[in-house]
């Protein structure tokens, strides 16, 4: 079933690419185009990996978008106003993001606040903090900081490499490491997982911490790629990412999904966006057609699955 989704989604993406390559031979199947698409979905994907982890465990986090803005903002603030060394600034930003994740996790698992409410509230709080930090928007970062997100390796810009690294690492972890494997138990039968000696709450708490960290990394990359920390960055990211993750085979019920699915989901969205503009769809129609494509993609997938079963 999950496998199927990975397969069908890859197939869909492949199909899309082939068709587009015939329709726009000069424009679509070019290195330039693909590296741009990749670059633009790298931030989302990095967060999506974390979201996939949470959704495997049967929860999700709406505050990631704000954390992205916060992390970049904090780093920028420290470097710009207190000329802190860029490494220290990054360390601080990541610890901050991690802490936010911890607070989410703690209040959800220990106090028992509904995850949706908790992370929604946190989304507001952290957005507020981000605004405080970056206010008008901060730039003129030290060269080293901008280097992180702007350097090109083998003619691909660094965020792409970070994305692939994170996807690969987490795929490996979820296949081979007991710790991460447990999230499947938790997601598919929390009570049973508990009775099997898995520390459900602690694991979930860790999940939120990891997501916080990944969102923090995404924030650093975005701001250094932009060369500026903007308080508005990451707005609406949470829903985009959750969509990608569900597209990639996760379910709100939990227990399902694979890390690579997060990447595929994000990739699908990215490519579709690219296609819409290539095929001259006007701005007003963008959302409409994007929505329809989304429904079609998932709907057809469903019908296929039913046929198979």
């Amino acid at each position: 079933m999950i496998k199927d989704r990975i397969v069908t989604l890859s197939a869909t993406i492949l199909l899309l690419c082939i068709v587009m390559s015939f329709l726009f031979p000069g424009q679509f199947p070019t290195v330039g185009n693909f590296s741009q698409i990749m670059l633009n979905l790298s931030i989302d994907t990095i967060v999506a990996v974390g979201m996939m982890l949470l959704m495997i465990a049967g929860v999700f986090d709406l505050s990631v978008g704000s954390i992205v803005a916060f992390s970049g903002g904090l780093a920028g603030y420290l470097m710009y106003y207190h000329d802190v060394n860029f490494l220290v600034a990054i360390a601080a930003a990541l610890s901050g993001s991690l802490l936010i994740g911890f607070i989410n996790g703690f209040l959800i698992t220990k106090i028992g606040i509904n995850p949706m409410i908790q992370t929604l509230a946190m989304m507001g709080v952290v957005r507020g903090l981000a605004l405080m930090l970056s206010g008008a928007g901060i730039q003129n970062f030290p060269y080293e900081y901008n280097y992180i997100g702007q350097v090109k390796i083998l003619s691909l810009q660094s965020p792409i490499w970070y994305m692939f690294a994170i996807v690969l690492i987490f795929s490996y972890l979820f296949k081979n490491i007991a710790f991460f494997r447990r999230y499947y138990f938790i997601g598919s039968n929390e009570k049973a997982a508990h009775l099997s000696g898995i520390e459900v709450e602690k694991m979930k708490l860790w999940g939120f911490v990891i997501v916080g960290l990944l969102a923090g990394i995404a924030g650093i990359l975005l701001s250094s790629r932009l060369g500026a920390a903007l308080s508005t960055s990451g707005k609406g990211l949470e829903l985009r990412v959750i969509t990608a993750v569900i597209l990639g085979g996760a379910s709100l019920a939990g227990g399902q999904g694979k890390i690579v699915g997060a990447f595929l989901g994000a990739a699908f969205m990215g490519i579709v966006g690219n296609i819409l503009i290539l095929s001259r769809v006007s701005g007003y129609w963008q959302e409409i057609i994007l929505g329809i494509i989304l429904i079609l993609a998932v709907g057809i997938d469903q019908l296929i699955q039913k046929k198979v079963a």
């Binding site: 007991a178 494997r181 138990f185 039968n189 099997s196 000696g197």
Partner: protein, 485 residues
Amino acid sequence: MKLGLKNIAKSFEVVKALQDVSLEFHEGEVHAICGENGAGKSTLMNILTGNIQPDAGSILLDNQIVTIHNNQQARSLGINIVYQERSLTDGLSVAENIFPLPPTKSFGRINFVQLHQQTKALLQQLEIKEFSPATMVATLSPAQKTLVEIAKALATNPAILLLDEPTASLTDKETTILFSVIRTLKQRGVTVLYISHRMAEIKLIADRVSVLKDGKYQDTLSTNNCTTEDIIRLMVGRDLQQVDVATHSTEEVVLSVKNLCGKGFSDISFDLKKGEIFGLGGLVGAGRTELAMAIFGAIPADGGTILKNGHRIHNNHPKQGIANGIAYLPEERKTLGVFLQKSIAENIVSAQLYGKGYNVKANNQKAGEYAKTLNIRSSSVQQLMSKLSGGNQQKVVLAKWLNTQPDVLIVDEPTHGIDIGAKLEIYKILKQLTADGKSILLISSEMEELLLLSDRISVMREGKIKGILNKKETSENEIIKLAAQ
């Protein structure tokens, strides 16, 4: 290891689940624990596995007082359990389910080779060939799942093994396997606490048997110098008069199934007569549940016809099944039968949500009556289903279906996990229903049950009816021969 309980007490809100229970378990004995539904057996197990803490009393291991905070600690102390409720993860393989905390290499990397070897070994020990360590649990039958649960418990090779109604969803085949395993464990000096409502088994496997009643310790008997009746008397506090098994079967055909085909069964034909109890025997996976569900309308039938009182009916949805006077009491109570977070009353009316009105008062009253007639033990009909013991839950589900006033009642393993007292009550109810002119299709993996209640018994194998035997001139062996081979 020697296990002892001293003056254990536990109560939930008003319910006194256990009161002043003291027990001694010898090393290497198989010790059965009997009691009616709600007597406190599972609560006792949950205390021994650290899932709940007793209000009073102490646990002794080799005469040392221990406090067990959680089930990991219990495991590390050498205590492990097969829960009454299933605790598996459908999305993962058998191997990973059996070892939730798997063997690892450096950096917590799972050692899959070792994992599968260990699992294979366990499966062999349990003589399981139908599935392998890599099989997805989701594809297993209830029975097969129970076997995985047992393997999971054995995986930590415990010194004390608790089995809370392990045979509830097993057929004789798996049961015999389980017993041979228990015997080998016993030779290894493992203490086995064995909970079951099947008296025959207890005589068969247990050395001693302790009885609980309403959370109070009654007595401990040695099985080779006591009779089933003695045990039952302790359990229910009175002699059970036998169910009168006089048949009420008439010649009038109520339900006539002709060449019915569907997923898991094919070419099924039989007549169900007014007032008859028609038994359906066979091994797990024989396709009985699918057949039942198809007749009821819960899953589609691919071909064949169903006649009710001579008229053809099409049940494409349980709604129609109910409308056509058919009721289906499902096999898997927890997942298909009950609304755990709803009250007893709500559960009883849940198959009756037609028409316009919904009158809470009337419903409670109706529920109250059923609670009385079926003698459902609870503080009130407002009590949440989740707070009831398994047996009482089953009675509520039965009440729910009786409440639909069916002519044909299909019951799939109706006495799974039900105590002997309740069991006989249910037998009486079923018989009474036939006396009232209702017809019953009884799916059961318990031979005694089939032979006791059925007027006729058909045996299914691999989705086909292998023969319909008249109760008068049939025997257990004949049925088993038809079922397997």
